[in-house]
């Protein structure tokens, strides 16, 4: 299964040497062959995808350029609104809901000629690290179907890893793109907060959520991010500046680049993972980069800050699922009882747990001890990173502490599951970009990802380092 890259597909389709329809059918064939066991999708949009691919081919035939993603089969995490097409967040409370509007990224993808093949499975409302928390059943890791794909964007990671789509979009609140990318052996990027519009992304934790790509190559990730990134007036937190082209950035080498090693990084990563991290440092050194030691003392407090801030925001964001305007309603004789019954029936255990945690952390008398304190820790972490970036252009860490783990191995212990994101979370808190690049394999021949981190709007530098790692592996 040698999937062509998105860059190759788009180039072929735009030049007329490759038919979008043909590319799509190859991907639909792979879906037909393996989706049953992988369960990457909540919805495969066969008919619409065929219409869209035909339209791309017709445009090319008519002498028009369908755009930089012409004919690229793409999968969307099922928490991005698609007009008239079910958007469920893998929750019973939104089952069957068809948004009356498109997310900004969806509009931009369509304008760039991408062909959406389906909506991918996730941990309910993006809360989880294994995609086991989906109300519609888990997604399996295409590399070993006894293991999780990671999460929460497990369906999007699996879709690319299985060749169901050339590229996909996920959302990353505490690692939900980078961690599944690592576990599925693909590239995954969490951009700077505000780099990609959140309009139409169903909110989990608004101050942390970012949309980003899953791809087979760093080049494809740059291509996709160049399309979906940039200012959107519909999102007040969208950064107004024009972003430099990442496709340009990855042409540069890493000679002289300062690559930071966090000497006080919390341990807990498996030896096979740390071994690959060391190899990554070596590879960048060989490519001309300089390895420097830095400290990020508050890094280890990220988990706590995150698990107070994200559930707090989530408890408010998810309060709108009340059975009044859309989604599930469980009838009761009065509105208040209807609310409680609807929400109890519509949300899964993990979502309820986080709503309760967040409600508690924000409630009168506890705000200062929990939410308020977490915001201060968030500041410490951001400040620590800023100091580290005075000495280093990028930082390297493991993406996840382990390779893909078997189903059920962490479901009984929420804290153990939360630890999957120990290396990814601090970046979300700081609002910085981070990406996971596949860098060889560990135990059981399963992929290991290396995480490249950069300062705010440090995407060009981060992509340069990632491209160098990728070159070192080829």
């Amino acid at each position: 299964m040698t999937a062509r890259t998105a860059s190759e597909i788009a180039a072929g389709v735009r030049s007329g040497t490759l038919a979008a329809a043909e590319v799509l059918e190859q991907h639909l064939d792979r879906i037909a062959a393996r989706e049953g066991e992988v369960h990457a999708f909540n919805l495969v949009m066969t008919d619409q995808a065929r219409r869209d691919a035909a339209a791309v081919d017709a445009a090319v035939a008519a002498g028009h350029d369908p755009g930089p993603l012409a004919g690229v089969p793409l999968a969307l995490k099922d928490n991005m609104c698609t007009r008239g097409i079910e958007t469920t967040c893998s929750s019973k409370i939104l089952e069957g809901w068809k948004p009356p509007y498109d997310a900004t990224v969806v509009t931009r993808l369509a304008a760039a000629g991408a062909v959406v093949v389906g909506k991918t499975n996730l941990d309910e409302f993006a809360m989880g690290s294994s995609t086991e928390n989906s109300a519609f059943g888990p997604t399996r890791n295409p590399l070993d179907i006894t293991r999780v794909p990671g999460g929460s964007s497990g369906g999007s990671a699996a879709a690319v890893a299985a060749g169901f789509a050339s590229v996909s979009l996920g959302s990353d609140t505490g690692g939900s793109i980078r961690q599944p990318a690592a576990l599925c052996g693909v590239v995954g990027v969490k951009p700077t907060y505000g780099y990609v519009s959140r309009y139409g992304l169903v909110a989990f934790a608004s101050s942390l959520d970012q949309i980003g790509p899953f791809t087979n190559t760093v080049h494809d990730a740059a291509l996709l991010l160049d399309v979906i990134g940039g200012h959107d007036p519909m999102d007040s937190t969208s950064i107004p500046d024009q972003h430099p082209s990442l496709l340009d950035a990855i042409r540069r080498d890493v000679v002289g680049l300062r690559v930071g090693r966090i000497t006080d990084l919390p341990d807990g990563a498996d030896p096979d993972v740390t071994e690959r991290l060391e190899a990554a440092f070596d590879a960048l050194r060989e490519a001309g980069a300089k390895i420097v030691d830095v400290q990020v003392p508050a890094f280890g407090y990220g988990l706590t800050a995150y698990y107070l801030i994200a559930p707090s925001e989530a408890s408010s964001n998810l309060a709108r699922y009340d059975g009044v305007r859309y989604g599930l309603r469980v009838e009761r004789p009065d509105t208040n009882a209807m609310y409680s019954a609807t929400r109890a029936a519509g949300f899964g255990d993990e979502v309820k747990r986080r709503i309760m945690l967040g409600t508690y952390a924000l409630s009168a008398g506890y705000y200062d001890a929990y939410y308020g304190k977490a915001l201060k820790v968030r500041r410490l972490i951001a400040d620590d990173f800023d100091r580290a970036y005075e000495h280093a252009d990028v930082l390297l860490t493991p993406t996840a502490p382990t390779v893909a783990f078997p189903f059920g191995s962490k479901t009984d212990n929420p804290l153990a599951m939360y630890l999957c994101d120990v290396y990814t979370i601090p970046t979300n808190l700081a609002g910085h970009p981070g990406m996971s690049v596949p860098f060889g394999t560990g135990q059981h021949g399963l992929p290991v990802g290396v995480q490249v981190l950069a300062a705010t709007l440090g995407e060009p530098t981060m992509f340069r380092a990632a491209a160098a790692l990728e070159r070192a592996m080829s």
Binding site: P99, Y101, G200, S206, S236, T237, T359, L362
Partner: protein, 486 residues
């Protein structure tokens, strides 16, 4: 003018020895084209749920973006209320209610846009303004079944989200009001200001201005009593009645040895009472936190100055101006009414056209109750009429008749109309001769008047009016008599 503390309290405003303390929270809907955070129309009276969009309905994935014009109107309010306009932020106030689409209201919490201002009542009493902050309105629930649209006993409710997201400014006064009349004056004055600056149409009957009153009573010199918040007051008249009722209720309770509970009460127009809506308890846990979907609002000094420079003259200043021009008291009925109607510029225009502003004020107050800010009558025509009056060529009654005719025709020559009606006024020398005759005929009264008994003047004026068969102008006659006294 600098607002310092609450107004001085005097015994004349005590109720059976109890002092009343009122603070008002007034919500006004801003006169924008669109909602506070989205582009659907802000329009009253449309078909239900026709002004909706993803943000208004709180659809998953929708995000708020702040309406610049709403901010500008809020800044105008802050400027008009002498507030400091400051860097501000938005919070989420979390609570469940079916007309609240996101289950949180976006409002300003610890950093409101406008703080620390004051409003001057017509009698120059200053009422402190604690804050005037931006927030979004809720939708509207209609209760079906049960007893006449009430929530209790209804079988179900219907929700219209047209109003959801409409920009509001909540104006919170300090507890500086001491009588129900002051509360009425405050709201009336505030309404006049809001209309003058174009911030809101401020219609209490349509709900674009809504008023909650915090009421407590205490013995002078003692700490404030426990307050109750009264909601659902739908007119300025009801506001006064509700406050009076509530003050009485609290006084009666305390005097009967009971304690006033802090609670939210509901004014019921049908039985003219307040009723318990809910008792304040710790269930009121709004879990405020900074709205992560919005960024801070920090108006620049230039923006604040531009707003201040563009401020129109406010009602208080307009009343003062008219008072100076006419010699009438600035907080007297005539000036209050004319300025409230926005007809003061017209009155001054009559003066500029050579007319008498005092007479113009009275005519405008009486003849143009239905008219818009600028009566459809050339200011010069009214000026000519007042000139005839001043010259004693028309009596007040005759002037009214002539004016009615001019108004009906949309303009006209007062002299010609007076002549056509046979209002041949007496000329000044004839009038003077007549007044001399009256003095001669009323020796005792004249003597009293000369000795300083002002009351005697009335009888002399009356005699002169009678002698002229009502054609003389009373004011002119009075002036003549006064001038002859010395």
């Amino acid at each position: 003018m600098i607002y310092t503390a609450g107004p001085a309290t005097g015994n004349e405003i005590l109720i059976d020895g109890w002092e009343l303390v009122v603070g008002l929270e007034v919500h006004v809907e801003l006169a924008t084209a669109t909602k506070l955070f989205s582009a659907s129309a802000n329009r009253f009276g449309d078909d239900p749920n026709t002004n909706i969009d993803p943000v208004t309905l709180g659809l998953p994935g929708a995000l708020p973006v702040l309406n610049r014009h709403a901010v500008e109107l809020a800044m105008r309010i802050g400027t008009a209320l002498n507030c400091t306009i400051q860097r501000s932020t938005f919070h989420r106030k979390n609570y469940f209610y079916p007309d609240m689409p996101k289950a949180y209201q976006i409002s300003q919490y610890d950093q409101p846009l406008n703080v620390d201002g004051f409003l001057a009542l017509p009698d120059a009493t200053l009422i402190g303004i604690e804050r005037a902050h931006l927030e979004e309105d809720t939708g509207k629930s209609t209760h079906v079944g049960g007893n006449g649209g009430r929530i209790h006993g209804s079988t179900y409710s219907l929700i219209d989200f047209n109003r959801a997201g409409v920009p509001l400014v909540e104006i919170v006064s300090r507890p500086d009001l001491r009588t129900s009349e002051q509360a009425r004056q405050y709201v009336t004055e505030l309404r006049g200001i809001l209309i003058a600056i174009g911030a809101s149409d401020a219609k209490m009957e349509e709900g674009s201005m809504r008023c909650d009153a915090n009421v407590s009573v205490h013995r002078p010199g003692e700490p404030f009593g426990t307050r109750c918040e009264i909601k659902n007051v739908n007119s300025i008249r009801s506001l006064g009645r509700a406050i009076e009722y509530e003050a009485r209720r609290q006084i009666d309770m305390i005097e009967a040895g009971e304690t006033v509970r802090q609670e939210t009460r509901h004014w019921d127009e049908t039985d003219s009472r307040t009723h318990t809506l809910r008792v304040k308890e710790d269930a009121d846990d709004y879990r405020y936190f900074l709205e992560p979907d919005l960024v801070p609002l920090a108006p620049s000094a230039e923006w604040i100055k531009a707003i201040a420079d563009a401020m129109p003259m406010l009602p208080g200043a307009r009343r003062a101006r008219l008072g100076v021009a006419t010699g009438f008291p600035a907080d007297g009925e005539a000036i209050m009414v004319v300025v409230e109607r926005g007809q003061d510029d017209y009155v001054l225009a009559v003066g500029a056209a050579g007319g008498d502003v005092g007479r113009a004020l009275v005519h405008v107050k009486e003849a143009f109750a239905e008219a818009s800010a600028t009566p459809k009558l050339p200011a010069g025509d009214l000026a000519a009429l007042t000139t005839l009056e001043v010259a004693g060529l028309l009596t007040a009654t005759q002037a009214k008749t002539v004016l009615a005719e001019i108004v009906a025709a949309g303009g006209g020559d007062a002299t010609a109309i007076a002549r056509a009606r046979g209002f041949e006024a007496m000329d000044t020398s004839a009038l003077e001769a007549m007044v001399d005759q009256v003095i001669a005929d009323n020796g005792p009264a004249w003597a009293k008047y000369r000795n300083g008994e002002d009351k005697a003047l009335g009888a002399l004026v009356g005699a002169a009016m009678k002698a002229s068969n009502g054609k003389a102008d009373g004011k002119f006659v009075t002036a003549l008599l006064q001038s002859k006294r010395t």
